[in-house]
């Protein structure tokens, strides 16, 4: 396993053993003392495991895809990485520097804030309706990297050009812009302060296919020109396949599969990934794969048993072992890991490890 490991350089983002547990049904602080004592005697409140021991890295200039269903912890993970939420435990290192310990409240004024930026899902809802496109793009600059107004106007115009937004539209309000134009404003705003890591939360979910293509191509262009890394969150696996170098699949707070996009899409190892891929509707002849349909409901994320696979109950392949031992991520192919008792690593990889 010597020639396959990439040279050790500090990754741009290094997330280790990251946890976020939310207390549910927590006793309200305003309760009178006897009640409070009684509740404390009842033991700690149940915890919802939103992000549960997540580890991954993103290299410079890399695009990492993050997929998973609603409720799997994608958004919590994104909010932890953008430091809008405080992790329960674990570390988030940006360029080798720890940013996970800084309280989320103070992060907005920290020198790290410009380095991690985000493009939100719904361009309409995430733009201030009373800000013109110019105001929206200038706002992060004014807050994080203030400059004289003459320079600012030049910089905003430059950003608009970069994102393919005609400068004539800069004086317009969001309701006067089309969906694609609003998406461009959202992107221009996010890259205004030269971030190193850009987190994209379903940036094209609300767009028509014809506009989606243009925005995806724009994102790809920007990445190459500005040398940013992306974390691309999406439901649409066809889009993830187009844009991402690596993909991670999340299920109930855990990463169940991670690896190079080619490898994961060609040979998915985790039954959940397999089900996800088989559920993509497609119209190309010969592309038809065996349909895997998931029955049942996901397990509860509240105090889940540490010894039962999270996918148990919906997994079409589960065996007795799945109820007695939690599977962990194991190498399957170069750079490709999956957490399933039944997944078989590539034959040549087995040899290398042995």
């Amino acid at each position: 396993m010597t020639d396959q490991t990439p040279p050790k350089e500090t990754p741009l983002l290094d997330v280790t053993a990251l946890y976020k547990l939310f207390a549910v049904g927590k006793p309200a602080a305003r309760f009178k003392r006897p009640v409070k004592e009684w509740l404390q005697a009842a033991g700690p409140s149940p915890k919802l495991h939103a992000v549960d021991n997540v580890n991954f890295t993103i290299a410079r200039g890399e695009t990492m895809g993050l997929v998973g269903e609603s409720g799997c912890g994608k958004s919590t993970l994104v909010r932890l990485l953008t430091r809008l939420l405080d992790p329960t435990d674990g570390s988030i290192r940006l360029n080798g520097e720890e940013i996970g310990q800084m309280p989320a409240k103070g992060f907005g004024s920290s020198p790290y804030r410009p380095r991690v930026q985000m493009v939100f899902q719904d361009a309409t809802d995430s733009l201030n309706p009373r800000y013109t496109a110019f105001d929206a793009i200038a706002d992060p600059i004014n807050r994080l990297k203030p400059m004289p107004s003459a320079d600012l106007a030049k910089r905003v115009a430059e950003l608009a050009d970069l994102c393919g937004l005609p400068q004539a539209l800069l004086s317009r309000f969001p309701h006067q812009l089309s969906g694609g134009q609003k998406a461009r404003v959202g992107i221009a705003r996010a890259i205004a302060v030269d971030p190193e890591l850009l987190i994209l939360d379903e940036p094209t979910a609300a767009l028509d296919v014809s506009v989606q293509v243009v925005i995806l191509q724009l994102l790809d262009d920007l990445k190459q020109r500005l040398g940013m890394s992306y974390l691309f969150v999406s439901h649409d696996l066809n889009v993830v396949r187009l844009l991402c170098d690596r993909v991670m699949v999340m299920y109930l707070g855990k990463i169940v599969e991670i690896g190079p996009a080619d490898s994961v899409f060609r040979n998915p190892r985790h039954p959940y990934t397999q089900a996800l891929l088989s559920a993509i509707p497609h119209f190309e002849p010969g592309a038809a794969s065996a349909r895997i349909r998931l029955g049942g409901e996901p397990r509860s994320p509240i105090d889940p048993s540490p010894n039962v696979c999270r996918f148990m109950g919906r997994c079409p392949k589960s065996i007795a072992q799945c109820e007695t031992a939690m599977p962990h991520l194991r190498p399957m192919a170069p750079g490709h890991e999956a957490s399933c008792h039944l997944a078989e690593p590539d034959a040549d990889l087995v040899k290398v490890i042995a």
């Binding site: 269903e69 609603s70 409720g71 089309s178 969906g179 028509d208 296919v209 014809s210 506009v211 989606q212 293509v213 243009v214 995806l216 191509q217 790809d220 439901h235 649409d236 696996l237 066809n238 889009v239 396949r241 187009l242 844009l243 899409f265 089900a275 996800l276 088989s278 559920a279 993509i280 509707p281 497609h282 119209f283 190309e284 002849p285 592309a287 349909r291 349909r293 998931l294 029955g295 049942g296 409901e297």
Partner: protein, 322 residues
């Protein structure tokens, strides 16, 4: 085409009166649905997919008005039917699944009671029998533990569950026609597949016809026999699914297929569709509403739009089809 289609929409035009002027939302829309068939209407937002559905169901916004054409369903023209006649048809003969189940369901009524309402109103079921029949419907849409779920409120159920409830309501009286307006937007891909399978299976079991309204070409291809492509209120092409993908005839259809991400395409291999939908408020809308975006435009395109029909029911509205 000897049999009489279940639903035959001909020459349908719809206008909306707005403060900004009259919007010609639909212009001479033609399509038909055979018995037991599942067809898709695809197109970008604003192409008139939902307006077509609402017009057929008779639930168009009061500002909108059908100015020409007919929509014949089982021998009756829906556009000229009285409200009371439509009420008789809706729920029993034709029903609809809406885009956002959480908004479409009544938030303060238990879901079992909402299914029972439909059965009592349209299905001729007595009040005493209705709750039991509602639970049967929940079983049919494969909701686990139906007795308990019947007592749940919509907010207690997941998006996929709510959509199943909508399907149960829509199919409660075994309608002949189901219109599904983007039934899976906002659902996860795995849930989407399960819901679409369910609609297709239940439809096939009851011999029901389904109109699937979607912007996802992949989904249309996977479940439908025929596809109707709409652009800015025009039907630009209708064709059997395989034919449409292998041999698209309208330039817009070809562009739409080329823009859809698919496993074998690279990012650079996808082509966008230049321009945007024309302003439908304008008094001089070009006869071909795609001509402003079309790279195959010729002087002919300013003449009234020709509609080429093939014998298999396929249709293309273009002067220079591919």
């Amino acid at each position: 085409m000897t049999s009489v289609p279940l639903l035959d929409v001909k020459d349908l035009s719809v206008e909306f009166r707005t403060r900004g002027g009259i919007v010609k939302a639909l212009d001479r829309v033609d399509f038909s649905v055979e018995k037991g068939e599942m067809i898709a209407i695809v197109g970008e937002s604003g192409s008139g997919k939902s307006v077509s559905a609402y017009t057929i169901m008779g639930i168009l916004d009061p500002a909108g008005k059908a100015t020409s054409g007919s929509a014949v369903f089982g021998g009756q023209d829906l556009l000229r039917a009285k409200e009371s006649e439509l009420r008789e048809l809706r729920g029993r003969e034709m029903s609809m699944i809406f885009q956002n189940p959480r908004v479409a369901l009544n938030p303060i009524r238990r879901v079992g009671a909402q299914i029972a309402d439909v059965l009592i109103e349209h299905g001729g079921v007595t009040r005493a029998e209705a709750p039991g029949r509602a639970i049967d419907m929940l079983k049919k849409v494969r909701i686990p533990d139906p007795e308990r779920r019947a007592k749940a409120y919509p907010f207690e159920l997941s998006g996929g569950m709510c959509q199943r409830i909508m399907i149960a309501i829509a199919l409660a009286c075994s309608p002949k026609l189901l219109i599904a307006d983007e039934p899976t937007t906002g659902l996860d891909v795995t849930t989407q597949a399960v819901i679409m399978d369910l609609i297709a299976e239940l439809g096939a079991a009851q011999g029901m016809s389904t109109v699937l309204i979607t912007h996802d070409l992949g989904m249309a291809a996977e479940y439908c026999n025929r596809i109707v492509v709409m652009h800015a209120g025009h039907v630009v092409e209708t064709a059997p699914t395989a034919e449409l993908f292998n041999n698209p005839r309208h330039p817009y259809t070809a562009r739409l297929i080329a823009a859809t991400p698919r496993p074998t395409a690279s990012l650079r291999g996808l082509a966008s569709i230049p321009g945007s939908l024309p302003d439908l408020r304008a008094t001089h809308i070009p006869p071909c509403r795609y001509s402003l975006r079309c790279e195959r435009k010729t002087p002919d395109c300013d003449k009234p739009l020709p509609v080429h029909r093939q014998k298999d029911g396929a249709l293309v509205a273009c002067w220079n089809p591919l």
